[in-house]
């Protein structure tokens, strides 16, 4: 029988013994968080976007922003080092990190960043206006699930435009990822410190910036959740026969003779597994309808797990494969008809993937080239550290002949490499390497975190603590350079938005809006009603005739040419087109006598094609 008085007394004594130390620890953590948040908020107003160079946002970030995040790192590491793990505190740190890293542009930018955000808003507007989908009119409309969902949400919430909330998508998506990441990491480790550190590293290493208002941003959440469900509740173990067949090398032989794997989550009951299987299929169905690439990443990962007997839901690859095939054949037939040949031709062209994903990008201004090189180094650095983590984690397991841990970690190893199989299949506009980095990132950061925490380690030596802190700071500094390296062309001013708005208000449906580049806030209205063209080469070459030819190539009701600040930045960064050349170009355009200025503000100018003057 419990003597509650005695227990209470013991608790009090314990609290008394540890109270001074606890107070000190909490004071240090609370101070770090408060200083961090306070300094960050004070520093935000010192970001002057107009002074940005081609190094992107990092060129205008005040040093105090970095110091504020340094304090957040300090708080996180101190919390990790506490004898008693306080997960709500770690959760708070991760939320603040997401706000600081992914929401840094929110208070200072005048309009939602990234031109694709505006295009996606246009597709939402398309669904709202047409209340139907015509897949043949645009490739995006072959996978419209995300846009239909957004249109529905906008209507229910009474939004005038989805752009009212689109700017918050990065923060929102990254907040969503936390739970799914925790599911994934906790499926392979009991050490929650290791899981939290892996989550922290995921956020400081995710420079890919696919979390904006986009199908892929939301689909990444589905990707993580689907893998989380499989890893938590559909864990399979390779059969003894399978291991005897494939674990033939001498150093692996013990795997087939050892005890059955130790499971962190025992097998679930049938009714619950049916419910979770249904849940998986619902998530997969939405993913298949809303993005062209993510379902393939899911399929590859699930297939790899199944083939190696790590997935007990063995029909899942077949189900996902059938969903993808059915969607492609019946709902995306328009896209397939026009692109199947080129898609098949892309298969296997590794040199082209490398060219489009790496070498082709090493072009442009000195600052931009530096950013691209830095991104490559950052990526290789993350992969290198992860490989080091794989080596040490597996070495320890092999040393102790811990077959359970080896097989458990092998699941992560499979998932860290399965998405690479996407590379030879598609160029994906030269972005496939970036996407593969993103798909593999959770597993890579787990192995990096395991360099710091072993499976059983609760406390780590100060030298490892210091190294973790330095790694975090280094990655965060790198994060701002890598993620926001193109910010000069990704951010838009209210003036630029006003200019495009002018076009939509004055140009009749069917009109043409030509521009030096696609990097401006366009297509957010009348998606299918207006024609947009991008003419970087004629602008750089001052080839006015070519521009006029474009304006008159078809019988547009009206034709316009827009130049905006972000486009000027694009041509400077990617084509080396000097800023001082814009004035002569505009003069030449007007001097042709075929254009008239119809709108201008400090950040944008619109010319209307008025045609040849009568002789």
């Amino acid at each position: 029988m419990i003597n509650t008085a005695k227990v209470t007394l013991q608790i009090r004594e314990k609290i008394g013994q540890n109270s001074s130390l606890l107070v000190l620890e909490f004071a240090a953590i609370a101070s770090s968080v408060l200083i961090s948040v306070g300094l960050y908020l004070l520093s935000i107003k010192d970001i002057h976007l107009l002074n940005m160079t081609d190094l992107g946002l990092a060129s205008v970030l005040p040093w105090s922003i970095y110091v504020s995040i340094l304090f957040l790192c300090l708080g996180f590491i101190l919390t990790l080092k506490q004898k008693t793990l306080r997960e709500p505190l770690l959760f708070l740190h991760v939320i603040l990190l997401i706000m600081m890293l992914y929401g840094v542009t929110l208070p200072v930018e005048e309009a939602p960043r990234f031109n694709v955000t505006w295009r996606h808003a246009g597709l939402v507007d398309y669904v709202q206006r047409n209340e139907a989908i015509h897949p043949s009119s645009d490739a995006y409309l072959n996978w419209p699930g995300f846009f239909i969902l957004s249109a529905f949400v906008a209507e229910v919430a009474g939004l005038k435009s989805i752009l009212d909330i689109a700017a918050y998508a990065s923060v929102f998506n990254n907040l969503l990822y936390i739970g799914a990441l925790m599911m994934i990491f906790r499926s392979v480790t009991r050490n929650r410190r290791l899981a939290w550190l892996a989550i922290w590293l995921f956020y400081v290493a995710n420079w890919i910036a696919q979390d904006y208002f986009s199908p892929q941003g939301l689909n990444y959440f589905l990707y993580l959740t689907i893998l989380g469900i499989i890893l938590c509740w559909f864990r399979g173990n390779p059969s003894k026969r399978f291991l005897e067949t494939f674990a033939r090398p001498r150093f692996l032989r013990f795997l087939s003779t050892s005890v059955p794997s130790k499971e962190l989550r025992p097998t679930i009951t049938t009714d619950r597994s049916v419910a979770l299987a249904l849940c998986l299929m619902i998530l997969a169905a939405f993913s298949v309808s809303s993005h062209q690439l993510t379902p393939f990443a899911i399929l590859f990962c699930v297939t790899a797990l199944t083939v190696l007997q790590f997935n007990s839901f063995r029909n899942l690859p077949l189900i996902i494969g059938m969903l993808i095939a059915a969607w492609m054949i019946f709902m995306a037939a328009a896209f397939l008809k026009g692109n199947l040949t080129s898609m098949l031709q892309d298969i296997g062209h590794l040199e082209e993937v490398f060219h489009q994903g790496v070498t082709k990008r090493l072009d442009g201004s000195a600052g931009h080239t530096f950013i691209v090189r830095f991104r490559i180094m950052f990526t290789l650095g993350i992969w290198g550290l992860a490989l080091l983590g794989v080596f040490f984690r597996f070495r320890n397991s092999f040393k102790s002949h811990n077959s359970s841990k080896i097989l458990s970690d092998a699941r992560f190893l499979v998932l860290a490499f399965a998405p690479f199989a996407l590379i030879p299949l598609q160029l994906y506009g030269g972005e496939m390497m970036l996407r593969v980095y993103l798909f593999t990132l959770p597993f890579m950061t787990f192995f990096i975190a395991s360099l710091v925490y072993s499976e059983t380690q609760v406390d780590i030596p100060w030298i490892k603590t210091l190294a973790t802190g330095l790694l975090s700071i280094g990655l965060i500094a790198g994060f701002f350079l890598a993620r926001y390296g193109n910010e000069k062309i990704d951010q838009f001013t209210a003036n630029e938005v006003d200019a495009v708005q002018y076009f939509y208000e004055h140009a009749p449906a069917g009109s043409l809006l030509a521009a030096p580049s696609p990097h401006y806030p366009a297509k957010f209205l009348g998606y299918e009603q207006y024609k947009l063209k991008f003419l970087p080469d004629p602008v750089v070459e001052d080839d006015i005739d070519s521009i006029i030819a474009t304006m008159t190539a078809k019988k547009y009701p009206e034709s316009y040419f827009i130049i905006s600040r972000s486009q000027q930045s694009f041509l400077y960064i990617f084509y080396g087109f000097p800023m001082e050349n814009w004035e002569p170009f505009e003069s030449d355009l007007l001097a042709s006598g075929q254009f008239a200025t119809v709108y201008s503000n400090p950040d944008a100018i619109i010319f209307k094609y008025i045609g040849s003057k009568p002789e």
Partner: protein, 365 residues
């Protein structure tokens, strides 16, 4: 089922109902307000999924929230897509469908959350449920459904002590011997919930937790989770994991752990009135998670010789030592950990979790 789950079982159905009604009002009455955005987005983001995910009774809130949000988003999208592709695009119809789906799930929650735990007034001198650091066995589906201590009035009197280390420290125990940081509560050791007991052996000093709750018990059952965690032991190294005492220092019950010919092994033993030990055979256990349960019984009278000890490993009876004359023995306190006899060849860490002791009934996994 955890009594808290019962106490708050109305919360989620209530939240879903409230959220559905509020969203419906904002939409159907076309109320323009910043609140509309917050309420409707919250509803669409959480409720359709949470209405059904709650039925799965997942053990961790982040599993629940993640699945609920992913499922909600997918259901919202699938409903919207179906309406659009079938030519019935209507926001009214879409929202109504989602509200019905959510309310259906909420209703199922209420119907399926049958109480298996009825709260009864604590007996005089018996701690209330709240004062007992109860073990939350919600880590597995089967555990959730079948393993929670059923608190009939008998069961309340039956329970002696339980601790799953979820307080994050050892404060629930009467005392502990930690030998620096050798004995600690850690997340790495967690089998159920967030924490477990980590026994890190780096010298030959005993480290353990002690519970003084038993009071001259004639029948004592204890169950705990044990994971050898690949602890390094020289061949034939052995030490004790569990001691049960009569009075202050008379050992009457023990569980021994050893490493022999590459295998971890366990055995249990009890002491009779004439101080000799009756031991069970060694039983090999895998280097994985196990639940160990012992049932110690004092003989009912002098000469009855009907005392005994039963050992279960993972629910299978492995030893049943009977016919012991131990009627003078009682159980007054116990120790769990590396309680004695540690060898120099034994170094590393193993884990305990989910300790529970009772007077009568089988405890189980």
């Amino acid at each position: 089922m955890n009594p808290d789950v019962l106490r708050f079982r109305w919360i989620w159905p209530g939240v879903i109902l409230g959220s559905a009604v509020a969203s419906g009002l904002f939409f159907f009455l076309a109320i323009e307000s910043p609140l509309r955005l917050i309420i409707t987005l919250s509803f669409l983001l959480v409720c359709p999924g949470m209405a059904f995910v709650r039925l799965l009774r997942l053990d961790e809130s982040y599993y629940e929230w993640t699945l609920a949000i992913a499922l909600s988003i997918s259901l919202d999208a699938i409903v919207a897509c179906l309406l659009l592709y079938t030519g019935f695009w209507s926001i009214t119809l879409g929202l109504s469908t989602l509200i019905i789906i959510s309310l259906l799930g909420a209703l199922l929650q209420l119907l399926w959350t049958r109480p298996t735990f009825t709260s009864v007034p604590a007996e005089s001198g018996t701690p209330t449920t709240a004062s007992i650091p109860t073990l939350t066995l919600t880590n597995t589906a089967t555990a959730t459904e079948t393993v929670m201590p059923t608190t009939s009035p008998t069961a309340m009197a039956d329970l002696i002590f339980a601790d799953g280390f979820e307080s994050g420290d050892l404060s629930a125990w009467s005392s502990s011997r930690t030998n620096g940081s050798g004995l600690s509560v850690s997340s790495a050791a967690a089998v159920t919930g967030n924490y477990g007991l980590q026994v890190a052996i780096d010298d030959n000093n005993a480290i353990y937790v002690r519970d003084d709750s038993p009071s001259a018990e004639t029948h004592y059952r204890a169950r705990f989770y044990f994971d050898p965690n690949s602890i390094s032991m020289a061949n034939n190294d052995a030490h004790y994991l569990f001691y049960g005492y009569a009075g202050t220092s008379t050992l009457v019950l023990r569980v021994e752990f050893r490493f022999s010919k590459g295998n971890y092994q366990l055995r249990a033993a009890l002491r009779n009135d004439s101080n000799s030990w009756k031991r069970g055979s060694w039983f090999t256990i895998a280097d994985t998670l196990h639940f160990i349960e012992i049932d110690w019984r004092a003989a009912t009278a002098n000469g009855a010789n009907n005392g005994g000890l039963t050992l279960w490993i993972d629910g299978a009876q492995r030893a049943n030592l009977t016919g012991v004359g131990n009627d003078t023995r009682r159980l007054d306190h116990m120790k769990l950990g590396a309680v004695s006899g540690i060898d120099t060849g034994t170094r590393g860490a193993y884990y305990f979790d989910g300790f529970e002791s009772r007077r009568q009934t089988y405890i189980g996994p």
